[in-house]
C-alpha cells in the first residue's frame, strides 16, 4: 500500500498557486460534505478524477490504484449501513431482505452509499492537492499569500524533512531492542512499557536533531534581519483566479442540475 505524496509533473495544477488551489479545494469539500444523497458525491468524485487527469496530468491508473484502500473503506460503509440502518428514522422503511436479526433496507444502502462516496470524494480532493503541490511551494505560498508567519512556515518544512529520518530511526530502535532479547509485547502493560522504551531514545534523538537544525538556521541569520527576501516569489496569476471561479461555477452547476433532476435529497441546511 502506498500513501499519496507529491507527484512530480508539469501541469496546470502543478503550476497553480497553492493558496488559491487550496481555496478551490475547500469550496469543493464543502459542497461534498453538505450532500446526503449518493448522486452528488458521485458526480464530485468523477469531477475530482477528471481534474487530476485533465489539469493535473496524473495517470488515471495511478489515481485509481492509490485510491484502492479507500474503495475498501467505502464498501465497508455501504455494507454496515445496509444492515444496521436505524429503521426508526423513517416512517416506512423499504425492507429488501433479512439476514438473521438484521434488516437490509434501501434507505440504509442509500445512506451508506452516500457516506462511502463522500469519503471517497473528500479523499480524492485532498489527494489532488497533495499530488500536485510541492511541499516547499505550499509553505512559501502560505507565507507569501496567506500571511503565515515565516518562522512557523519554515518550522513546518523542517519537520517535513525530518519525518523519514525519524521513521528510519524508529525502525532501527525496534531492531536494536529485538537484539537485546526484548520480544514484541502483546499485553496492555507490556505494550505501555515497550512504548516507553522506544520513546526515550526516539525523543532524545529528535530533540538533538531539532536543536542542531535550529542552531544551523540561526547561524544563517534566520529571522535576524529586519526584512526577509524570497528568491522564489509565488504569485497569484489570472489563471489561478479563473480556476477558482471555474470551480465555484462548476459546483453551482452540479448542484443546480441535480436539484432540477430531483436527485438532491436534502442539501446542507435545506430540509428534505
Amino acid at each position: 500500500m502506498h500513501f499519496f505524496e507529491y507527484y512530480e509533473r508539469d501541469s496546470f495544477l502543478h503550476r497553480a498557486n497553492p493558496t488559491t488551489k487550496l481555496m478551490a479545494v475547500f469550496v469543493l469539500l464543502l459542497a461534498v460534505i453538505m450532500a446526503f444523497d449518493p448522486f452528488t458525491p458521485l458526480l464530485f468524485l468523477i469531477f475530482a478524477i477528471a481534474l487530476m487527469c485533465g489539469l493535473g496530468r496524473i495517470p488515471l491508473f495511478y489515481i485509481l490504484r492509490t485510491l484502492i484502500p479507500f474503495w475498501l473503506v467505502a464498501i465497508g460503509f455501504v455494507v454496515t449501513n445496509g444492515f444496521l440502518y436505524d429503521v426508526t428514522k423513517v416512517q416506512t422503511p423499504t425492507v429488501l431482505g433479512r439476514w438473521g436479526p438484521f434488516l437490509i433496507t434501501q434507505e440504509g444502502l442509500e445512506a451508506g452509499l452516500s457516506l462511502g462516496l463522500r469519503a471517497l470524494a473528500i479523499v480524492s480532493y485532498s489527494m489532488m492537492f497533495v499530488m500536485t503541490t510541492a511541499p516547499t511551494d505550499f509553505v512559501l505560498s502560505l507565507i507569501q499569500q496567506a500571511r503565515l508567519s515565516y518562522r512557523f512556515g519554515y518550522g513546518i518544512l523542517v519537520s517535513y524533512r525530518f519525518m523519514p529520518l525519524l521513521q528510519a530511526e524508529y525502525d532501527t530502535i525496534r531492531a536494536a531492542h529485538k537484539v537485546r532479547g526484548v520480544g514484541e509485547r502483546t499485553g496492555l502493560r507490556d505494550r505501555y512499557q515497550q512504548l516507553k522504551r522506544y520513546a526515550v531514545p526516539l525523543l532524545a534523538s529528535a530533540i538533538r536533531k531539532s536543536e542542531r537544525v535550529a542552531l544551523a538556521m540561526d547561524s544563517k541569520a534566520f529571522g535576524a534581519a529586519s526584512a526577509r527576501t524570497y528568491y522564489r516569489a509565488l504569485h497569484v496569476r489570472r489563471g489561478d483566479w479563473l480556476f477558482l471561479a471555474g470551480v465555484v461555477i462548476a459546483v453551482v452547476l452540479i448542484i443546480m442540475g441535480l436539484a432540477w433532476l430531483g436527485l438532491l435529497k436534502g442539501y446542507g441546511i435545506v430540509p428534505e
Binding site: 510541492a134 537484539v179 537485546r180 532479547g181 538556521m217 547561524s219 527576501t229 528568491y231
Partner: protein
C-alpha cells in the same frame, strides 16, 4: 581577523565552565586546526567564534570575541552571519529546505539580498564546490560528501571572511571525506578557517597553526604544526588526541632511537625523512602468518544470500561468505554497498530465507530468538538505540533477567562486567547521561552479558576520541583472544590494518573480495573500484617500494617500529 580575549563560557544549568581563559588570534587567511579530546569544549569554542554564543545559546560568557574588529557581543546575528559561517558535523541536521537551490538561497533570503542577486550567488557558490549539476536536486538524493560540500556552498554564498568547520568529515565515509577535503583546500588562503577535525592525514598540508585544547576547556598550547607536534606528542597522547599517523610513527620511532628529520606531518614528509635514514628496514615478521583459522569450523556461513528491499532496491546479491570461529573479521565497502543489510541478516533483524544463513553450523531460521541472542551479540552504531533500562546496572542486568537467571548470579555477572568495562562508578547513572566512550563500552558490555560467542559490531569506534577508541579495540582484541568471533563493519582502514585478520569487501550487494588484509592492500584496482583508501602508513611503505621494490610491506605502526629496531 579573529581574536578572543580571556574567553570563558558556562552553559545555563551547566555545573562548570566549558571554556576558560581562551586567548586566540587568527590572522587573515590563516588556517588553524583545533585539536582536543572529546568533550573538551572544541564545539563550544566554534559556536563562540560564530556568534551563536552569546546570541542564541543561553549561558554565561566571559571575555570578548572580535571578528574583523567587531565584538560579537555588540554585533547582531545578521551582521555576524555575513562575517562568519559554520559547517556542522551532522550532514542530516543542518539543512531546512528540500532542494539544493532553496537551501543555498535560505541564508541569502535571511540577509535580505534581492532575488536577482541571490540567483547569481547560488550559481557561483555551487560552481565553487562542484555542485552546479545538482542545483535542482532534492537533498535526500545527495551523498554525505555532497551534503557537506553543499553546507560549505551555503556559507560561501553568504560571503563570510571566516569559516568555522566543526568536524566536517566525522560522519562521512572515506569516499565522502576524499571529496570534501579537496573542495575545502580550494579555499585555503582566501578565507580564515578554524577546523576541528579527527582525520588529519589528508588535512595537515593545509594547516598553518595548531591549537591544542585540554580537558578543562583551556588552550594547552598553540603554534606551528611541526613545532607543536614534534615536541609534545607525550602530552597529546596523554590527552587522547588523534594525531596524523606520520607524526605518530615518527614519535614511536624516536622512542626506539630512530629520529626522523624534519619531524614529518604527512606521508610525503615521512617518506622523505625515511629516505635520508642510514638504516634500512629489516623485513622480519611482516610476512603473512599462515592462517590456520581457515580450517576452523565456520562461526557464520552465508550461502547464496540475496535480498531486495520492498521498494525493489537490490541490497544483497548472491552473497557467499564464511567467517571462521575465532576470527577477527572486517566487513568493508562504500556506503550503501550492503554491509549493514548483511549484518542484519546475521541477527534475524532481517529474516533470511531458509538454508542461506548458518550460525555455528545451524540454519538461522531454525533458531529461536532466545537461542540466537544467546550466541550472537550485535552492537549498533548508535549505542543509545539499544538502551532499555534506567540505570547502567539494570541495563547490564536486563538480558540476564529476561532469561530468568536468578538475582544472585545476575548481580555477580553484572559486577564482573562493570569492572571489566570500567563502568563501576557509573552503575547508578542513567545510560543516556554517559559520555560517548562510556555509552559505547556499555553497549558492548550488554552484548556480552550472556556469554555470546559471536559479536557483530557496526562502526565500533565511530565518534570516539583516540583514547576511548583504543580502549574499545583492546577490549575486542582480548575478547577475540578468548575465542570470541568478532565481525565488525568499518570504514576505518587503520583499524582493519591493526586488528582484523580477514576481510570481505562488499560492492553493490556482492562480495568482491574475501581474504587477508594484506593481500587486499595489494589489489590497487579493486581498492580504487570500491573507493577504499589504504591506511597512511601502508601508503608510506608503497611510496618507498616504488624506489626500492624490496622494501617490506609495512602496514601498522608496530610493523614499522619492529622493522627499524
Amino acid at each position: 581577523m579573529i581574536e578572543t580575549r580571556h574567553l570563558g563560557f558556562r552553559y545555563a544549568f551547566g555545573k562548570r565552565a566549558v571554556l576558560s581563559d581562551i586567548n586566540l588570534q587568527l590572522e587573515k587567511g590563516e588556517t588553524a586546526l583545533l585539536l582536543g579530546p572529546s568533550g573538551c569544549g572544541k564545539s563550544t569554542l566554534a559556536l563562540c567564534l560564530d556568534g551563536l554564543i552569546p546570541h542564541v545559546i543561553e549561558g554565561e560568557m566571559r571575555g570578548e570575541v572580535f571578528v574583523d574588529g567587531l565584538s560579537t557581543r555588540e554585533s547582531s546575528v545578521a551582521e555576524l552571519a555575513s562575517k562568519v559561517g559554520i559547517v556542522f558535523q551532522d550532514p542530516e541536521s543542518q539543512f531546512c529546505m528540500l532542494t539544493v537551490e532553496d537551501e543555498v538561497a535560505f541564508g541569502l533570503e535571511n540577509l535580505g539580498i534581492p532575488p536577482g542577486e541571490i540567483g547569481a550567488r547560488i550559481g557561483t557558490a555551487l560552481r565553487q564546490m562542484g555542485l552546479e549539476q545538482e542545483r535542482r536536486t532534492r537533498l535526500d538524493r545527495l551523498s554525505g560528501g555532497m551534503k557537506q560540500r553543499l553546507a560549505l556552498a551555503c556559507l560561501l554564498a553568504m560571503q563570510p571572511d571566516v569559516l568555522v568547520l566543526d568536524e566536517p568529515t566525522a560522519n562521512l565515509d572515506p569516499q565522502g571525506a576524499a571529496e570534501f577535503l579537496p573542495a575545502l583546500a580550494t579555499l585555503k588562503g582566501q578565507r580564515t578557517m578554524l577546523i576541528v577535525e579527527h582525520r588529519l592525514d589528508d588535512l595537515m598540508h593545509l594547516v598553518d597553526r595548531v591549537v591544542i585544547m585540554g580537558g578543562e576547556g583551556r588552550i594547552l598550547l598553540q603554534g606551528m604544526p611541526r613545532e607543536v607536534l614534534a615536541t609534545n606528542v607525550d602530552l597529546l597522547e596523554e590527552q587522547g588526541i588523534w594525531l596524523p599517523q606520520a607524526a605518530e610513527l615518527a614519535w614511536h620511532l624516536a622512542k626506539a632511537g630512530v629520529r626522523l628529520e624534519p619531524f614529518p606531518l604527512t606521508v610525503e614528509e615521512a617518506a622523505a625523512a625515511l629516505r635520508k635514514l642510514p638504516q634500512r628496514p629489516l623485513s622480519r615478521d611482516v610476512e603473512e602468518a599462515s592462517s590456520p583459522l581457515s580450517f576452523a569450523p565456520p562461526a557464520i556461513e552465508l550461502r547464496h544470500l540475496s535480498f531486495a528491499y520492498p521498494n525493489g532496491t537490490r541490497a544483497l546479491d548472491d552473497v557467499q561468505l564464511t567467517v571462521a570461529r575465532g576470527d577477527f573479521f572486517a566487513l568493508l565497502g562504500p556506503n550503501g554497498s550492503g554491509k549493514t543489510t548483511l549484518a542484519m541478516h546475521l541477527m534475524d533483524i532481517l529474516r533470511p530465507p531458509p538454508g542461506t544463513v548458518y550460525i555455528q553450523g545451524r540454519d538461522l531460521v531454525a533458531l529461536s530468538t532466545y537461542e540466537l541472542t544467546q550466541q550472537v551479540g550485535y552492537v549498533f552504531q548508535n549505542p543509545e538505540h539499544q538502551f532499555v533500562a534506567d540505570t547502567v546496572y539494570d541495563e547490564l542486568a536486563y538480558s540476564l533477567r529476561v532469561r530468568g537467571i536468578n538475582e544472585a548470579e545476575t548481580q555477580h555477572r553484572v559486577e564482573e562486567l562493570l569492572a571489566e568495562f570500567g563502568l563501576a562508578a557509573q552503575a547508578k547513572d542513567n545510560p543516556f547521561r554517559l559520555s560517548q566512550g562510556q555509552k559505547r563500552r556499555l553497549s558492548l558490555a550488554t552484548m556480552l552479558a550472556i556469554g555470546q560467542q559471536i559479536l557483530v559490531l557496526d562502526e565500533p569506534t565511530f565518534g570516539q576520541d583516540r583514547r576511548s577508541a583504543r580502549q574499545i579495540m583492546e577490549h575486542l582484541r582480548r575478547l577475540n583472544e578468548r575465542g570470541v568471533t568478532i565481525i565488525m563493519i568499518t570504514h576505518d582502514m587503520r583499524l582493519v590494518a591493526e586488528y582484523a585478520r580477514h576481510v570481505a569487501v562488499l560492492m553493490a550487494g556482492r562480495v568482491v573480495y574475501q581474504g587477508s588484509v594484506r593481500s587486499l592492500y595489494h589489489q590497487a584496482a579493486l581498492l580504487e573500484k570500491t573507493s577504499l583508501v589504504t591506511p597512511p602508513l601502508y601508503r608510506l611503505a608503497q611510496r618507498l617500494q616504488q624506489e626500492n621494490p624490496t622494501f617490506p610491506d609495512l602496514m601498522t605502526g608496530e610493523d614499522w617500529v619492529r622493522a627499524y629496531t
